[in-house]
């Protein structure tokens, strides 16, 4: 070793670091600092989500047309199975049921794919996490944003379906914006929480499809919860109706569909929607941030 004798030699590593103002590498920043770092990376978050969205279909011949064609086909499949074959519309008139079903499918898919992308946000991007520095929350947030943009394409199909079954644009359509904004917040919180769990236990990616499918069938995507559960105890109906997926679906249906009035909504629905969004959004964010310095260990 060629180090010269100097006063610094007597110091321990920690003391030496303190003397010259060095910080622990990769330490977790405070919550406030973390938020401002994230804000600094907003261009990256947006660019990354758009890049992922574009890359998805770039090898297909029809290219970006699939952004619209995929939800359209999805809606068609659900229409054939639940609208024509099984006929789950019980208590809902036909011209309401079709947009009811399609809205349910699209709004639920928004949450579903955000969760699925969230689980893999860290564990599927370890290369990126181990190569570059950025607040790790950028990844789950970026994936939720990608799903939001995907949903906007689906909205084109949804508007066509709604108009096709006789609900024409009116002022209440604007309510879709706050409803989806709250849902986006909720989804992001959930994706952040799932990202932390998925980083620790990648097996969740295998398990989640089953959880999500159960959640979908329990949320009344293709049937009306109060009508279907008429003869069951009231608390079951309440639990199902106040679950966040059902709440956001109902709000969008209420906003878009003429024949789907407020009598179908549970009480205090906007308040509940707001509470779900804020609570899950904040808890998910803080929960994710708590493990910030540990992501990347494989």
């Amino acid at each position: 070793m060629s180090s010269p004798p100097s006063a610094d030699d007597a110091l321990s590593a920690a003391e030496l670091a303190a003397k010259y103002g060095l910080a622990v590498s990769g330490a977790r920043p405070g919550l406030r600092e973390y938020v401002s770092q994230l804000k600094g990376r907003r261009h990256f978050i947006l660019a990354f989500s758009r890049a992922k969205l574009t890359a998805q279909y770039s090898q297909a011949k029809l290219g970006q047309l699939w952004q619209v064609a995929t939800p359209l086909l999805n809606a068609a499949v659900y229409f054939v199975i639940f609208g024509l074959i099984l006929g789950t519309k019980k208590g809902i008139p036909q011209e309401v049921f079709i947009p009811f079903l399609v809205t349910g499918v699209f709004v639920f898919t928004f949450t579903q794919s955000s969760v699925m992308a969230g689980v893999r946000a860290i564990s599927g991007n370890l290369g990126l996490v181990r190569a570059l520095h950025f607040p790790r929350a950028s990844l789950p947030i970026s994936f939720s944003l990608q799903q939001l943009q995907q949903l906007l394409y689906s909205m084109i199909v949804l508007v066509a379906v709604t108009v096709g079954w006789g609900s024409y644009p009116r002022l209440s359509w604007l309510l879709v914006i706050p409803a989806l904004a709250l849902q986006f917040l909720f989804n992001t919180g959930l994706a952040l929480a799932m990202a932390r769990m998925g980083a620790k236990t990648p097996d969740l990616a295998q398990l989640m499809p089953f959880v999500m499918r159960t959640w979908m069938y329990a949320s009344g995507v293709m049937f009306s919860i109060p009508v279907m559960l008429e003869d069951k105890p009231a608390w079951i109906t309440d639990v199902l109706q106040y679950n966040p997926a059902a709440i956001y679906m109902d709000l969008v249906r209420f906003a878009l569909i003429d024949g789907y009035g407020s009598e179908n909504l549970p009480a205090h629905v906007w308040l509940v929607a707001l509470a779900w969004a804020v609570v899950v959004g904040l808890v998910g964010f803080v929960y994710f941030w708590k493990a910030e310095e540990r992501y990347g260990r494989g």
């Binding site: 070793m1 610094d8 030496l16 622990v24 660019a47 890049a51 574009t54 181990r130 190569a131 570059l132």
Partner: protein, 261 residues
């Protein structure tokens, strides 16, 4: 290079007894079948996690790097060089021990942020943003990056998806994006080996420029010549342990004796 051993040297990176352990799922005992996985889980519960294999990649490395130093990391494949760099950059959490740094050390490499399905154009922007550059900075440097990469020398390739590039072209674009930003503490991991001869000369010149701008440079390389050309101090790692730490000539001589070159 002369190492002026005067008092008042400012440390930029301090590694204090750093240990790094990788955990590999399903890397455990023998067969990779479902029944083997099940029996691993059933046998679990005796202290250590079953079914998870640990790889102790870096074992107790301690050193202090000072401002103005260019430090080479040598050692055979799998000796823990790249892992150590990642730990210094704060990208890989340490198992025990700590790393203190001045500012934010950066690893030269954006490969992971780029997407082969996107055009070279969009990848330049995406890679720049991923490294923490602002949109304005990227716009300013865009032409410089494309020209440096030489991608457009053989036609308008920058507007084609990256998956259509030859491996050499893709490597050149990646290096050009990565080298577009200057850093306080810079770490270079085998970046000099990309591209054809002409590009290698250009990239070595760019690395020297980056070194001038940076406070401290770390270079991982298997080419003793490029270590000799650029570094004044060398760390020799073997099996995760720091075998030797000293002036370039001394360490390289010992290393060459050991590896029989």
């Amino acid at each position: 290079m002369a190492d002026d051993n005067t008092a008042g040297r400012v440390p930029t990176v301090i590694a204090d007894d750093v240990h790094i352990v990788y955990r590999v799922n399903g890397g455990g005992g023998g067969k990779g079948s479902a029944t083997a996985a099940l029996s691993r889980i059933l046998r679990r519960g005796k202290g250590e996690e079953r079914g998870v294999r640990k790889v102790h990649a870096v074992r107790g490395v301690t050193f202090t790097a000072y401002r103005g130093e260019a430090i080479g990391l040598i050692g055979t494949n799998g000796s823990g060089k790249s892992t150590l760099l990642r730990a210094i950059a704060g990208l890989l959490p340490t198992e025990s021990g700590s790393v203190y740094t001045d500012g934010q050390p950066s690893l030269l490499g954006v490969n992971a942020a780029l997407m082969s399905d996107l055009t070279g154009e969009r990848n330049v922007v995406l890679g720049g943003l991923a490294m923490g550059m602002s949109r304005e900075e990227i716009r300013e440097r865009y032409d410089e990056i494309v020209e440096f990469s030489g991608i457009n020398e053989k036609g308008d390739f920058i507007t084609l998806p990256m998956r259509t590039y030859s491996s050499g072209m893709a490597a050149r674009l990646r290096f050009s994006i990565a080298a577009a930003k200057s850093h306080d503490v810079l770490m270079i991991d085998e970046a000099l080996a990309t591209g054809d001869r002409k590009f290698q000369i250009r990239s070595e010149a760019r690395i020297r420029e980056l070194r001038k701008e940076a406070g401290t440079v770390f270079l991982v390389s298997h080419s003793n010549k490029s270590i000799r050309d650029t570094c004044n101090r060398v760390l020799w790692l073997e099996k995760g342990e720091l075998l030797m730490d000293g002036p370039t000539d001394e360490v390289l001589k010992a290393y060459e004796r050991e590896t029989g070159k």
